[in-house]
Chain length 261, copies 2
DNA sequence: CTCCCATATTGATTCAAATCAAATACGGCG
DNA sequence: CGCCGTATTTGATTTGAATCAATATGGGAG
């Protein structure tokens, strides 16, 4: 696989794993009254890639987890909070970000259904980033202590490894790409992630603001806005506020890898 | 812990884990004739953080691994190569990098004694980055398939999680910091990693070129060179080619978090 | 020991993107 | 339904860093 393709693929592959058996319910708020069983989850396809798919249905059969509903604008966890659990997104959209003392912050990722969040907490037993719901969402709570099954451990390592590869892609983007290349890469990445979830790859709603896109891409919000306008003028996309329609995927790829010299 | 401190700490904590028992020797080249035992390794302190330290000495006792010597300029592995093993650095210095089609490349990390490399390969069974020895080095080969012990699995997850946190720090650096802040953060990070290994935090030799530093920091080599000169004029450091002497740690921290407005 | 090539420094100029500054458009709420 | 605050677009200007260019320095090969 080419490196560019690898970057594009990275997010699509950031798939989910499932927890070991039913979790203890967490103290208090907004959790589902009963655990949800993995066998009836409509994210099964996305949630059980590679190793844990068909061949391990015996394991799958016994799995269930506690859900938690989140309102838009609510934090799943904050940097510094203690680490207990991983979170698999059932529905919704999240952003993660880290903050510097002086207030500058950097969006480090956007997350959608089937993806795992919270792995930053494993190493130090506390989270290093904030995670915020960008729309009303629902997550599965996967207590880390309950991940004992060896197949689960391996699966988690795969997910974490892919996250490392995805981060390499972001570093490449931030370190070597020009503004227009960054935005093109961003749109292509979103497109691939949507199609992997059964949504149209050519038409979707952005859940984040221009400012959040800019933060993620290391650009000012004005630059993001201008680039959307320019891409539209060039016939690559159609933009109306947060609604995006992609007209020319090859054209965006050409912008991204700078073939348009 | 503050975010800035977290960034600085991230690399220091990127510590090693040990493999499960003696590994089969690999076909052919430059490996040590006999496996090296963990109990006699002088990186033990660095290699066995947290959970696997004193309390797990029973596990430690049985551990040994195959070593491999590397010459400066040699690749440990290339992007696309199949994944078998993780590598713990015994001695030496490495850089990892990813390459885009058009030749642009990005240094994604520098690695020194006690750190683990190769975790990018776990997710897809093939490596996504190149890893190159920047000086004559020696690594321990840790076949991934041999990591069965649950404590080892947990330990690996901790190491990978810290790598994720470290990457967040790099994204913050690339996404929000100005050139001088990036170089200050880089020097402070190196300083902390050296001191954790028993070297002076105030005086060290850079193993990488200005171009490699620039690539890692998302800057041109000329900018890196100019900033070294400016830091020297400002009395923060003393530079003579690759030899660095730090004179003012607080000053560098002030540059990094932009307190000098 | 000396030559040679890669590496590093420094200067001049250009350029991409940030910042500063309005104006406009939405979306949520009373 | 209209108001208000937030988000977005667009324009003007500044600026930080890249690029282009010319030396200088040093380490390694022979």
């Amino acid at each position: 696989m080419s490196v560019t393709a690898a970057i594009l693929e990275a997010n699509r592959r950031r798939l989910t794993l499932v927890p070991r058996n039913a979790c203890a319910k967490r103290a208090g708020d907004k959790v589902a009254p009963f655990p949800t069983r993995c066998t009836t989850c409509n994210l099964r396809e996305l949630c059980l890639p590679c190793g844990l798919a068909a061949s391990d249905s015996d394991l799958l059969g016994g799995l269930a987890y506690t859900r938690k509903r989140m309102k838009r604008g609510e934090f799943l966890f904050r940097a510094g909070a203690g680490f207990d659990s991983l979170y698999a997104i059932r529905t919704g959209f999240f952003k993660s970000s880290v903050v510097l003392e002086d207030g500058r912050d950097q969006v480090t990722g956007f997350h959608m259904a089937g993806e795992i969040m919270g792995m930053d907490g494993i190493g130090t037993d506390s989270h290093s980033a904030d995670v915020l719901a960008l729309e009303d969402s629902e997550v599965c709570i996967i207590p880390y202590a309950h991940l004992e099954e060896a197949r689960m451990q391996r699966q988690l390592q795969k997910v974490m490894s892919r996250e490392l590869v995805r981060d390499q892609g972001v570093m490449l983007l931030l370190g070597t790409m020009k503004a227009e290349e960054r935005l093109a890469a961003f749109l292509l990445n979103l497109s691939q992630r949507f199609v992997a979830r059964g949504f149209s790859p050519l038409e979707f709603h952005l859940r984040m603001t221009r400012e959040e896109i800019g933060s993620y891409l290391g650009l000012s919000l004005e630059t993001v806005s201008r680039l959307f306008s320019r891409f539209q003028e060039d016939g690559l996309i159609q933009v109306q506020q947060k609604h995006i329609r992609i007209h020319d995927i090859p054209g965006l790829k050409a912008v991204m890898i700078h073939l348009n010299d």
